[in-house]
Symmetry: C2
Subunit: 226 residues, 2 copies
C-alpha cells in the first residue's frame, strides 16, 4: 500500500544527501541486533524445528547486513564507525520487548519485522532510486517468518486467554517500535533531516504512521489476533 | 594433504550405501549446533567487530545446512528425523569445550572447525562422487574464521602465560573432538559401517588420525601456539 501510494513521486532525497550513510548505518545495526536477538529468543523454542526456522531467519539478516556493509564501503564509510551512534537505541527496543514465551517470541519475529519493513519501505518511496534499491534489497522478504502464522493461529484458536495476552503484546510491540524509531531518527541531524524530507514528500508523517498502523492490524488479523 | 593422498582411489562407499543419509544427518546437526554455539560464544567478544565476524561465520553454517537438508529431502529423508540420534553427542562436544574467554572462543572457532573439516574431507575421498560433492560443499571454507589468526597471534606474542594456556586448550579441543567423533560414529550401525569402509579404503584409521593430528599442529603453529 505504502509502496503504491508513493510510486510516482519524484525522489526528494538525493543520492548525496548526508543522511544516506546514516540511514544505511541504522539498517546495518538493525540487522545485527535482530540477528543476535532472534538467536537468543529461539532458546524459548520447544522444538529443534523452531530453532532451525529461526536460524534461517537470522542467517538471512546477515546476508542483508552484507548488502548495506558494501553500500557503505562503496561510499568510503566504515560500517562499525557508522553504526556506533545507533547501538543504544536499537538495543533498547529489544530490551523493552523481551518475550517470555515462545508464542510471544514468534509474534515478535513476525510483527516486529513487519513494522520495520513497512517503515523503511515508506521512506524508500522518497529516496533516489540507487538508495531505495539498497533499502529494498535489505528488506527483501525471505519468507522465513511464515512458519509463525500457522503456529500462532492454532495456538490462539485453542486458548482465549493466550489470545488476549498476545493481542496486548502486539499492541506493545507497535508502541515500542514507534517510540524507538523516533528516538533513532533524532540521533543525528543529517538523519533527522533526511527523514523529514522523505516524510514530507510522502504527504505527512502522521499519515505515514496511520498507514503503518493499518498494516500492523492486518498482520495481527492474519495471526488470528483480532 | 588428505585430499591429495586419496584423490586416485576408486570410491568404496556407493551412492546407495544406507549410511549416506546418516552421514548427511551428522553434517546437518553439526551445522545447527555450531550455529547456536558460535552465537552464544560470541557474547564473549569485547567488540562489535568480533560479534559481526562471528555472525557471518554462523550465517555461513546455515547456508551449508540448507545444502544437506536438500540432499536429504532429495532422498526422501526428513532432516529432523535423521538428526535426532546425533543431537546428544554433538551437544556433548560443545558442552565439554565451553570457552571461558574470548581468546579461547576464537581458538575454538578456528581449530574446531579445522578438525571437523579435515575429518570429513578425509572421508569424502572414499565416497561416491555425488556424495563427496555434498560433503565438500558443506565444508567449503568461507574464510570467515581468518579474522582469528591475527587476533590470536598478537595476543599470544604479548603474553607468555596466555600462550601456555591456549596451547593446552588446543590440545583439549583435539582430544574432545576425536572422542566425540568416535562416539558419533558408533550411534548407528549403517554409519559405523560406512566409516569403516571409507577409512579402510583410505589406508587405515590410525594413519587417518595421524594426518589429522599433523594438520592440527600446523593450524596451532599458524596461531603462534608452538
Amino acid at each position: 500500500m505504502g509502496a503504491n501510494s508513493s510510486a510516482e513521486l519524484t525522489p526528494s532525497v538525493a543520492l548525496d544527501h548526508p543522511g544516506v550513510p546514516e540511514l544505511f548505518a541504522v539498517l546495518a545495526y538493525g540487522e545485527i541486533s535482530a540477528f543476535y536477538r532472534l538467536v537468543e529468543e529461539a532458546q524459548l523454542s520447544p522444538s529443534l524445528r523452531g530453532k532451525v526456522a529461526v536460524a534461517k531467519m537470522a542467517a538471512a539478516e546477515m546476508n542483508h547486513f552484507k548488502t548495506v556493509e558494501r553500500a557503505l564501503s562503496d561510499r568510503g564509510v566504515d560500517v562499525f564507525d557508522a553504526m556506533a551512534p545507533y547501538v543504544r537505541a536499537l538495543d533498547a527496543y529489544h530490551a523493552s520487548t523481551s518475550p517470555s514465551t515462545w508464542l510471544e517470541s514468534m509474534v515478535k519475529f513476525y510483527v516486529g519485522d513487519g513494522i520495520a519493513a513497512d517503515f523503511y519501505r515508506e521512506i524508500a518511496g522518497a529516496l533516489a532510486p540507487e538508495i531505495a534499491g539498497v533499502v529494498r534489497d535489505v528488506l527483501a522478504d525471505t519468507g522465513h517468518s511464515e512458519f509463525v502464522v500457522e503456529e500462532v493461529r492454532s495456538a490462539v484458536l485453542a486458548n482465549r486467554q493466550e489470545k488476549d495476552r498476545l493481542m496486548l503484546w502486539g499492541r506493545r510491540l507497535l508502541g515500542e517500535a514507534i517510540t524507538q524509531a523516533q528516538y533513532v531518527m533524532a540521533q543525528r541531524d543529517d538523519l533527522t533531516e533526511l527523514m523529514i524530507t522523505a516524510a514530507g514528500a510522502l504527504g505527512d508523517i502522521v499519515a505515514l504512521f496511520d498507514r503503518m498502523q493499518d498494516s500492523h492490524a492486518q498482520r495481527m488479523e492474519l495471526l488470528g489476533l483480532v
